[in-house]
C-alpha cells in the first residue's frame, strides 16, 4: 500500500490526457457519515425515486444483491445468493488479503490526478465477486448516490467473475434531487476469468453541474465474455472516460454498448478501447449518441495484436437540436491476419422516415420520438431481460426530456 501512495503522490497534479481539467481543491472530500441501513425499504421515498431511475430497486425484486453508497459512506451491502459476495471495498481490504492481487492491478494508480485521488483519499466502493462455477441469474445492483452539494466522491470498485461463473451487475450513479454541483471519481477494475460471463450495465443520472471522471479497465481470460453497457442520457456538466479491456485468453469476447444524450451545456468525451491479445478473440463496440445541444466526442479504439482476431466498431450519432458530435473511430491492426472494421455516421433524422410514420397516423412529434427511441434501442445479445427492461426504461425516460 505504501508503494501505491508514493506513486499516487507523484501523480497528484498530473492532468488527464483527455477532457477538461478539474480543480480538485474546489470540492469537499471530507467523509460524510451516514448510518448503515439494514433494510433498504426504509430509505426515503425521494432517494428511492432517484435510485430507481438508475436501475436500483429498493424492493430488490429480481435482484441477487445490493450495494448502496451515499456520499462517502457505504450504507448497505449484502448478497442474497450463495456464491456471490458483495462488500464495501474498505472493509474488504482490511479483511481479505487476496484482494491486494486485484487492487490497482489493471488501472494504473498514477494514470492521472483522478486515479491518484482515489488512492490518497478513498471513500469507499464495492467488491462484487461471483465464486467459481456459481451462476448469479438475477443482477446484483449497486448504487453510488451523491447527496452532499460540492462533494468529490472518490470510489474504487472491483468486480470479479471467477472461473465458470456468471455474473450480471446493474450499477447506477445518481444524485439527490436538490444536488447541482459535485465530482465523481470512480475506479473500476473488472476481472473475467476462464469461461466466466460478466455483464455490467451502468446507468448514470447526474446533475447539471456534475463533473464525472470514471477510470476503468477490464481483463478477460480464455473463453470469457464481458458485456459492458453504458447509458447516460441525463444532463451532466463534464464526463470523460475511456474504459479499456484486454482480451488476454483464447476466444475471449468483449462487447461495449453505449447510449449517450448530450443536453445543452454538457461536454461528453466517451470512448471504449478493446485490445485483442489472444487468438480467436472478438470485440464489438457500438455507440449511439444524440446531441440535444451538448457537445459529444465518441471515441472507439480497437487494437488487434494477433492474427485471427475479429473486431467491429459502430458509432452512430444524431444531431437533434444543435450541439456537436465528433466521432473518432480507430482501428489498429498490428499484424497480418486481423479482421477489423468500423462504421461511423453522424446525421439527422431522415424526413422520409418521419413522413412514413405520419402517413400511418402519428403526429410529427410522435413520429420523431418513435425514430429516436428506435435509434437508441440496440439489441444486446446475452443481456438478461431485467436489464434490458432497465435500459428501455432509461430510454423512455430520456425521451420525455428530449421532446
Amino acid at each position: 500500500m505504501r508503494g501505491l501512495d508514493e506513486k499516487a503522490l507523484q501523480a497528484k497534479e498530473k492532468k488527464a490526457g483527455l477532457g477538461q481539467d478539474i480543480d480538485l481543491s474546489a470540492y469537499e472530500s471530507k467523509p460524510i457519515l451516514h448510518d448503515y441501513v439494514e433494510d433498504i425499504g426504509t430509505l426515503s421515498e425521494a432517494d428511492k425515486r432517484r435510485m430507481i431511475l438508475a436501475g436500483v430497486d429498493a424492493t430488490e425484486t429480481d435482484r441477487s444483491g445490493t450495494y448502496i453508497q451515499k456520499d462517502t459512506t457505504a450504507i448497505h451491502a449484502h448478497s442474497k445468493q450463495e456464491g456471490l459476495e458483495v462488500m464495501p471495498i474498505k472493509k474488504a481490504l482490511e479483511k481479505h488479503d487476496w484482494l491486494k492481487d486485484y487492487y490497482w492491478k489493471l488501472v494504473g494508480v498514477d494514470t492521472d490526478k483522478y486515479t491518484a485521488t482515489a488512492q490518497l483519499d478513498l471513500h469507499d466502493g464495492y467488491v462484487i465477486r461471483a465464486l467459481p462455477g456459481s451462476k448469479v441469474i438475477y443482477p446484483v445492483q449497486a448504487c453510488l448516490y451523491l447527496e452532499k452539494e460540492g462533494l468529490s466522491q472518490n470510489v474504487h470498485n472491483i468486480i470479479i467473475a471467477e472461473e465458470d461463473s456468471e455474473l450480471h451487475i446493474i450499477t447506477g450513479c445518481a444524485t439527490a434531487e436538490h444536488l447541482r454541483r459535485g465530482l465523481h471519481v470512480g475506479i473500476s477494475e473488472f476481472f473475467v476469468k476462464k469461461n466466466a460471463k460478466l455483464s455490467f450495465t451502468m446507468i448514470h443520472n447526474w446533475a447539471e453541474e456534475m463533473m464525472v471522471r470514471p477510470r476503468s479497465v477490464g481483463r478477460v481470460e480464455e473463453g470469457g465474455l464481458f458485456l459492458n453497457n453504458y447509458i447516460c442520457m441525463k444532463p451532466v456538466k463534464s464526463l470523460q472516460m475511456y474504459p479499456t479491456t484486454h482480451l488476454v485468453g483464447k476466444g475471449a469476447v468483449a462487447r461495449f454498448y453505449s447510449l449517450l444524450v448530450g443536453s445543452p451545456g454538457c461536454e461528453m468525451d466517451v470512448g471504449g478501447r478493446i485490445i485483442l491479445k489472444a487468438a480467436d478473440t472478438r470485440a464489438e463496440i457500438v455507440a449511439r449518441t444524440i446531441s440535444n445541444g451538448g457537445n459529444i466526442i465518441a471515441r472507439g479504439d480497437l487494437v488487434g495484436e494477433v492474427p485471427g482476431i475479429k473486431a467491429h466498431l459502430e458509432c452512430r450519432g444524431l444531431i437533434l437540436n444543435g450541439g456537436t458530435i465528433h466521432a473518432i473511430p480507430e482501428l489498429n491492426g498490428k499484424v497480418a491476419g486481423v479482421e477489423m472494421s468500423h462504421e461511423a455516421a453522424v446525421g439527422k433524422i431522415a424526413q422520409e422516415e418521419i413522413l412514413y410514420l405520419m402517413s400511418r397516423g402519428l403526429s410529427e412529434d410522435d413520429a420523431t420520438a418513435t425514430i429516436v427511441r428506435g435509434f437508441l434501442s440496440v439489441d444486446i445479445p446475452g443481456l438478461p431481460p431485467q436489464l434490458k427492461a432497465e435500459i428501455d426504461r432509461a430510454v423512455a425516460e430520456s425521451d420525455k426530456d428530449m421532446m
Binding site: 413522413l355 412514413y356 400511418r360 397516423g361 402519428l362 428506435g374
Partner: protein
C-alpha cells in the same frame, strides 16, 4: 368518396400533374395505368399529403372534408391508407410496433401477421433487408391494422415472387371488400351494394387484375388523366399497342 377537382401539382418548379379530375365513389376501386414518369406515384403522394408535392391549383375532398392542405397524419386518421413501393427502413422500430402504430386501438398483431404469412418478421426492424415481396406483405399488414377507407397501392405486385402474388392479390381484394366468399346472412349482390372501401391501385403489369375485380381504369399520361374506361379494356389495349397510342389521345 374521394373527389379531385382540377388538381395541379408542382415538385420544385416542375409541373407534374395538370388538371386532374377524379372521383372515387364509396365502394369503388380504380386501377391507375400509365408509362414511367407519367405522374402515377406523384398523384398517390399528393393524395397522401407529402409536402414536397405542392398543390398549385384545384382541390381534393375526402369524406366531405377538404384535404388539399391537410397534414399527412390527419389524412391518415381520416382514413387514407397507403401501401408504398419502397418504404424507408427505420432502425430499431420493429415491424410489430409499426403494425400497432397503424391500428388506432389494440389489435391482435400475431393473428393479422399470420394472414399474410409474415409472423416471423414481427421482431425485425421495419423494412430492414426485406425483399420486394416481404415489403409488400409488410405494407399490407400495416394497412390491415389501419383499417383505412381509401386504400392506395403503389405497384403492389412488383418484385413479388409467384408464390406470394396470389396471397397479395387475394388480400388486397379482401381489404377492398371484393372477395367472393359465400356469406350465409347476405347475398353477394347485397354485399356488393354495401361496399364502403375505396381503392386506387397503380399497376404496371396488370397482374393484380387476375386476382380481383375493379370498377374503372384510369390512364395517366404526362400528368393528365387521358382516358377512363373498363380496366381490362385499358390493360388489353396497352398490352397490344403500348402507351404510344396514348399520345394521340393526349393531344
Amino acid at each position: 368518396m374521394l373527389q379531385i377537382e382540377d388538381l395541379q401539382v408542382k415538385v420544385g418548379d416542375k409541373e407534374i400533374l395538370k388538371h386532374i379530375d377524379l372521383e372515387i365513389h364509396q365502394g369503388e376501386t380504380h386501377i391507375l395505368f400509365g408509362p414511367n414518369g407519367s405522374g402515377k406515384t406523384s398523384l398517390l403522394m399528393t393524395i397522401i399529403g407529402y409536402p414536397q408535392y405542392k398543390v398549385t391549383g384545384g382541390k381534393m375532398v375526402f369524406k366531405g372534408e377538404d384535404i388539399t392542405h391537410m397534414p399527412i397524419d390527419e389524412r391518415a386518421q381520416l382514413g387514407i391508407g397507403v401501401s408504398y413501393q419502397r418504404p424507408p427502413t427505420i432502425n430499431g422500430v420493429k415491424t410489430k410496433q409499426m403494425v400497432q402504430i397503424c391500428a388506432k386501438e389494440e389489435v391482435d398483431v400475431e393473428a393479422l401477421a399470420a394472414k399474410v404469412n409474415f409472423s416471423e418478421f414481427l421482431e425485425r426492424d421495419i423494412n430492414a433487408g426485406f425483399s420486394g415481396g416481404e415489403i409488400k406483405r409488410s405494407e399490407l399488414l400495416q394497412l390491415m391494422a389501419q383499417d383505412a377507407d381509401l386504400l392506395l397501392f403503389d405497384e403492389p405486385e412488383s418484385g413479388v415472387d409467384l408464390e406470394n402474388i396470389s396471397l397479395i392479390g387475394n388480400m388486397i381484394s379482401e381489404l377492398l371488400q371484393r372477395d367472393f366468399k359465400l356469406n350465409r346472412e347476405k347475398s353477394l349482390k347485397k354485399l356488393h351494394e354495401e361496399r364502403t372501401k375505396m381503392g386506387l391501385i397503380i399497376t404496371h403489369t396488370g397482374f393484380i387484375l387476375d386476382y380481383m375485380t375493379a370498377d374503372r381504369g384510369q390512364l395517366l399520361y404526362d400528368g393528365e388523366l387521358t382516358c377512363a374506361s373498363n380496366p381490362r379494356e385499358i390493360f388489353t389495349c396497352i398490352s397490344e399497342v403500348g402507351y404510344e397510342e396514348c399520345v394521340r389521345c393526349a393531344v
